[in-house]
């Protein structure tokens, strides 16, 4: 799998994403500067990493979404390319109009960094296929603006089209309020685009992709991507 990670000024999980992708794919992920107008040729996946692009000034992701490279990312998504946005990357995908809804300030009004328990709500995507029957996983979050919200019609569509990829749940897999780190509506932690090939999520799978760090549940996401490309 050929992958690239977009680097915005203020991105700070770009290296972590490159490490996780390179480890899963056995091939070094490229780093692409936000001022570039084009993506490298022959890419299978573009990842927008976590961090504080442009300092999260104005609105998280709003300035990054207007970077020159984002036109190329939108075209790439349009053509059916795989796009993964994590944390600030999710915020950027929403600001760029590649995913619906909005990410609001956490209900606690505080930054939150901790492990969360997630339910894999659909395995019908190239990102989640490898989870199979493994429905409840542990992946950390680290954000200040991660409360997903959307209007009723959008939420209905997301549910009807099975596009909610992850929900915050308790150990039994129930989407209870205590399991929700940010006040996201319906405990939504990640959603898919209409063609199921764009995923935005607040939790950081790249931080849970190395057993030495206490968990590797996130690694399955990257393995899913590799597997789906091999079978494609």
């Amino acid at each position: 799998m050929r992958s690239a990670v977009i680097v915005f000024p203020g991105s700070n999980c770009d290296r972590d994403m490159v490490v996780a992708l390179s480890r899963a794919t056995g091939r070094a992920a490229a780093m692409v500067w936000h001022k570039d107008a084009a993506l490298p040729a022959g890419l299978d996946l573009v990842a927008l990493p976590g961090g504080f692009s442009f300092g999260d000034y104005l609105r998280c992701g709003a300035i990054a979404a207007r970077s020159p490279i984002m036109r190329a990312v939108a075209d790439f998504a349009q053509r059916g390319g795989l796009v993964l946005g994590v944390c600030n990357g999710f915020q950027i995908l929403i600001e760029a109009g590649l995913l619906p809804g909005a990410l609001m300030r956490n209900q606690t009004l505080k930054f939150v960094c901790r492990d969360t328990t997630l339910a894999v709500e659909t395995t019908d995507s190239p990102f989640t296929r490898a989870y199979g029957n493994r429905r409840v996983i542990s992946v950390p979050v680290a954000h200040h603006e991660g409360a997903y919200i959307a209007d009723g019609a959008t939420l209905d569509r997301l549910r009807d089209e099975d596009r909610i990829a992850f929900r915050y749940v308790d150990a039994r897999g129930e989407p209870v309020a205590q399991a929700n780190p940010n006040g996201a509506v319906d405990n939504i932690a990640g959603i898919l685009g209409a063609n199921r090939r764009v995923l935005g999520m607040m939790p950081h799978p790249e931080r849970a992709a190395d057993p030495a760090l206490g968990g590797a549940d996130g690694a399955l996401l990257f393995e899913s991507l590799c597997a789906s490309l091999e079978t494609a």
Binding site: G10, G51, F52, D56, F111, C113
Partner: protein, 672 residues
């Protein structure tokens, strides 16, 4: 043009210069200084920048060892970790600003220490902080805690360094002066360390980073005075942080260093342009001329005085190889940062500052730092504390519950969940354990970090308290399996002009020195914060020790959580020392008795034993004993494991002494 005030002794006094110090200036330059020159002297000669009260004693600390690449005197200390790699670290206080404006004060404290580390060519890989606040019931405390924690998180999270540990304490002695001690460590190639000494005549002095504004003018002078009731009026002297700019500055500086263009580099911290320019010249034995018309300014009509004293954040000064100037400029353009040639190195011993076609300062450069006043302040021994009275026997289980629920012992998750402690994806042991452990990226090695001090001990017996702070740091590192390498000291005290405060300082430093020598943990960097007093009330003496240990392989790591059904073994000698104990203070509001004595040889043996037990695969978990003794340590291990624990009493000792005594040099280890 603004009319500059005439310089008088009264104006000098308003700049924090004592009459004899002003006299010294007149003798040095043979005339009255200009307004800008007065500002420069006040910046260079204040306590914060000159260490004039502490230097004599800091010289007594052990600072060398085979592992030390750079000791104190540079932006941060540098220690060899093998394989051509080095860890670069320092701890620094931002106490006064944080009390006045908690969010920005704490945020810029983090920003400053990160800059100290990457100025040396290291990428920051871990941040810690040691925080001391007043009584939780004091009306200011809640706002200070919330603001400081949010400020630390706001800066570190955006910058992208994991904040992996530290300590938070509450004591009424900090009601009028909170302490914010920020530690940062970075990773560099041992043969690619950058220093501040300029070299070569006629080399361009380049200004990099954010623009200069009026924020922080006089900040270092403010931080060198005690507070009265009008502390809040000093709010405009606190700088405002911009972590986004700092992140770009980090990336641009590391790129520039890679390009080979950098001769020397110095960050603009306290006293901004003044301190950084003088330091580069002084260390390199050169003069510096500056043209302030070239300085990128954020505000209009800034005077030379304001530019020289501004503490605007996220700025660097470099001396560059002239032939690489264009390449260097391109890197800064890429990161949308300012880049301006603001002066040159000169052969004469001269600090020449021009602005608007006029000479604003013309001073002998060496004398600015070299002849800064140095005091041998009078000091007295700390009187022995009140003797330990009878300690009431309480049910140990109930006492433990009360202790674990006290603000000084309860879970700190509320604090560290606001810090991104996992960014960079190398955090092996997260906050809440003995020491945080961060993997050296791309290797199987790891570094352990801790920050420790027990101010109650230092107040009762400064010498033992100083020793204990180092010993506890040594123990915390050892409990993770790491071999302690070196430390940084952040010495927080009251007004040194009071002999009893100076006595605390002298004896704490002596204790730290003795322990560092005995434990093989030299002091490679540090910071002194004095005048932590409000209306004559000083803080507890708080010499925070930040320490770094090395795990040459993650296989050596010792977890804190034992498995269910395992046996806990207590290593070390228990005599049941209850003087100055947490039990006495938290449950009975009594600070009595002597601080626990530290047997440094036993401390070293115990640490080496723990590492050996791990190497021989004889233990599954370890935790050090400190505040709260055996009962608290066992409870913390059980909490980490999610298990219960059954402890046996020792018939030879009263229950309180056995379970809550704070004898030093002890560990709990778990055996399967």
């Amino acid at each position: 043009m603004t009319i500059e005030p005439d310089v008088t002794q009264a104006l000098a006094a308003a700049h924090g210069l004592k009459p004899d110090e002003y006299q010294r200036i007149l003798e040095l330059i043979g005339r009255a200084p200009s307004f800008t020159e007065l500002g420069i002297f006040s910046a260079m000669w204040n306590e914060h920048c000159s260490y004039k009260s502490s230097k004599k004693w800091l010289r007594t600390l052990p600072t060398t060892g085979p592992q030390v690449i750079q000791g104190p005197g540079e932006n941060a200390g540098v220690v060899d970790i093998g394989d051509g790699q080095a860890v670069v670290f320092k701890m620094e206080s931002h106490n006064h600003p944080s009390y006045i404006e908690p969010y920005q004060g704490a945020a810029t404290g983090v920003g400053g220490i990160l800059r100290d580390v990457f100025t040396m060519g290291a990428r920051p890989i871990a941040a810690l902080n040691a925080l001391s606040f007043g009584d939780p019931a004091h009306p200011r405390t809640r706002a200070l805690v919330a603001g400081v924690v949010a400020g630390i998180g706001g800066y570190g999270n955006c910058f992208g360094v994991p904040t992996v540990g530290g300590e938070v304490r509450f004591h009424p002695a900090y009601n009028g002066n909170c302490l914010v001690n920020a530690f940062a460590a970075g990773l560099a190639d041992a043969d690619r360390i950058f220093y501040s000494a300029a070299s070569g005549v006629g080399m361009p002095v380049v200004y990099l980073g954010a623009k200069t504004g009026r924020d922080g003018v006089g900040g270092a002078t403010m931080a060198s005075a005690e507070f009265s009731d009008d502390a809040h009026e000093k709010r405009p002297t606190v700088q405002v942080g911009d972590p986004f700019t700092e992140k770009r500055l980090l990336e641009a500086c590391l790129e520039l260093m890679d390009s080979g263009a950098v001769i020397s580099i110095q960050d603009m911290g306290a006293a901004g342009l003044t301190c950084s320019a003088v330091e580069m010249g002084d260390k390199g034995g050169l003069g510096i001329e500056l043209d302030l018309d070239a300085v990128p300014c954020r505000e209009q009509a800034m005077t030379a005085y304001e530019m020289m004293l501004s503490e605007s954040q996220e700025r660097m000064l470099m001396v560059l190889r002239p032939e690489r100037e264009a390449a260097a400029r391109a890197i800064f353009d890429k990161w949308d940062l300012d880049f301006a040639v603001v002066g040159h190195t000169i052969a004469e011993d001269r600090f020449l500052v021009r602005h608007g076609g006029a000479v604003k300062a013309d001073l002998p450069l060496k004398a600015l730092s070299g002849t800064a006043p140095e005091y041998d302040r009078p000091w007295v021994e700390t009187p022995p504390p009140a003797p330990l009275g009878a300690v009431p026997e309480t049910d140990p289980a109930e006492a433990l519950l009360r202790l674990m629920g006290a603000p000084n012992f309860c879970s700190r998750a509320w604090v560290w969940e606001q810090y991104d402690h996992m960014v960079m994806a190398d955090t092996v042991v997260r906050p809440g354990a003995d020491a945080a452990v961060v993997r050296v990226h791309g290797t199987a090695k790891a570094l352990a970090f801790t920050a420790d001090v027990t101010p109650r001990y230092c107040k009762a017996n400064p010498y033992q308290g100083g020793r204990q702070a180092v010993a506890e740091a040594y123990r915390n590192l050892s409990a993770t399996g790491a071999k302690p390498l070196a430390c940084t000291d952040n010495l927080n005290f009251g007004n040194p002009e009071r002999p009893e405060i100076m006595g605390q300082f002298v004896r704490c430093v002596r204790g730290i020195g003795a322990a560092c020598a005995a434990l093989g943990m030299p002091v490679v960097s540090g910071n002194v914060s004095l005048y932590n007093e409000t209306s004559g009330e000083a803080i507890l003496p708080t010499p925070t020790i930040g320490a770094v240990g090395l795990l040459t392989s993650l296989d050596q790591l010792i977890p804190m959580a034992p498995g269910a059904g395992e046996t806990l073994v207590l290593l070390g000698e228990t005599h049941g020392h209850l003087g100055q104990s947490a039990l006495l203070w938290e449950l009975h509001a009594r600070a009595e008795g002597d601080a626990p004595p530290v047997d440094l040889a036993a401390e070293r043996r115990a640490g080496e034993l723990v590492r050996r037990l791990r190497a021989e695969d004889l233990i599954t978990a370890a935790h050090d004993l400190s505040d709260g003794g055996l009962a608290v340590a066992a409870a913390e291990m059980a909490l980490a494991a999610g298990t219960g624990v059954a402890l046996e009493a020792d018939p030879a000792l009263p229950a309180a002494a056995w379970f809550f005594g704070e004898d030093q040099g002890r560990y709990l280890v778990a055996c399967a």
